[in-house]
């Protein structure tokens, strides 16, 4: 009888301690969620930076193709026919198409031209692929790939 009475003493403290621990666990989980939310915003910025940079490089790649279309066409045919791939590699080498950025953020980019011929090269569609790799402030890389297709028709020079 006396033992039963003793066991009931201090029960309030035990209950409160349990409750307080539960509250602290919930609080820690809440804090973790908030911190992760901040990280998600960084991801969003990285995605936008990579996307906009890729759009810009695509414009430069399209300008090069507009200015110098012939060498790309013959370089591609020579590669496909198994003759040489050096001229095609040369066409992709420019630092504005394949290089890296340091400011305003760290990024690496690579551009690839691909010919999608039809009707034995009378119709020529060019696929320009730009791959941008942005390094986020927390050190994690974020990659974005943008593809644009330009269609063209081969016309006789004379």
């Amino acid at each position: 009888m006396r033992h039963q009475k003793k066991s009931k003493r201090g029960m309030a403290v035990v209950i409160v301690l349990t409750l307080a621990t539960a509250i602290l666990i919930l609080g820690t989980a809440f804090l973790k969620t908030i911190r992760n939310q901040g990280g998600r915003n960084t991801i969003e910025l990285g995605a936008i930076q990579a996307d906009l940079l890729a759009e810009g490089i695509t414009q430069i790649a399209m300008l090069k193709f507009k200015e110098i279309p012939g060498p790309l066409y013959y370089a591609y045919v020579a590669k496909v026919q198994g003759q040489t791939d050096t001229p095609l590699k040369e066409y992709h080498k420019d630092s504005v198409l394949a290089g890296e950025l340091k400011t305003p953020f760290a990024a690496k980019f690579q551009t690839t031209y691909q010919l999608l011929p039809s009707k034995m090269y009378d119709d020529m569609n060019i696929k320009i692929s730009v791959v941008v790799n942005v390094t986020r402030p927390d050190g994690i890389d974020y990659e974005r790939n943008i593809e644009r297709t330009v269609s063209g028709v081969r016309r006789p020079a004379f």
Binding site: K5, K8, R9, M11, A12, V13, I15, V16, L17, L19, A20, I23, L24, L26, G27, F30, L31, I34, Q37, G38, N41, E44, L45, I48, Q49, L52, L53, E55, G56, I57, Q59, I60, M62, L63, K64, K66, E67, I68, G70, P71, L72, Y74, A75, V77, A78, Q81, Q83, T84, T86, P87, E90, Y91, K93, D94, S95, V96, L101, P104, F105, Y121
Partner: protein
């Protein structure tokens, strides 16, 4: 008399209540401050998200503007065409400073290997390695613009925070211009 003594033993003492209250209070203080921190963090995130959206919108607008109408220079804050620059007040009541810095990538150098189409042996359907001339370059002046947009805003009324992104614009109509 015996009944009264038993009741006394089974109840919660004042000391226990006081101790429980003390523990509960000390547990609730950090939790309450955590709630405040959560609210502040949510507002901070909201401001950052709006800044990123503004940054994206401004640069996409710049990608659609005519090449010749984009101003060149550093720290441009004057609105032009549909591109909103300078101080922008959002419906949520936040103030942002939007700044454009643009410069020509000039000359833009493009390298390639020309083809000797006049060679008698030249076959346009299967050009040989010997049909290609050594590497040469074409330099284009003032036809690529580097555009950097910076959106800045204030946190805790004094600390300036910013986000920035960049893109390029190419002038496809340079010959007709």
């Amino acid at each position: 008399m015996r009944l009264s003594s038993a009741r006394k033993d089974t109840g919660v003492t004042l000391l226990e209540i006081m101790m429980a209250l003390l523990i509960m209070t000390s547990a609730m203080i950090p939790v309450a401050s955590l709630m405040g921190y959560g609210g502040r963090a949510t507002s901070k995130d909201a401001r950052r998200i709006i800044a990123i959206q503004t940054l994206d919108k401004t640069l996409r607008q710049l990608l659609n503007e005519p090449f010749t109408e984009i101003p060149v220079g550093a720290g441009i804050k004057k609105t032009f065409n549909k591109v909103e620059l300078g101080t922008i007040k959002t419906p949520a009541g936040y103030d942002y400073d939007v700044e454009l810095s643009s410069r020509y990538i000039s000359p833009a150098v493009f390298s390639f290997q020309n083809v000797k189409v006049n060679l008698p042996s030249f076959n346009p359907d299967a050009p040989l390695a010997s049909d290609f001339a050594p590497t040469e370059t074409v330099s284009l002046t003032n036809c690529i613009l580097e555009l950097v947009v910076k959106v800045s805003w204030k946190e805790q009324q004094s600390l300036t925070v910013d986000v920035s992104a960049m893109t390029y614009r190419a002038n496809y109509h340079r010959r007709s211009g």
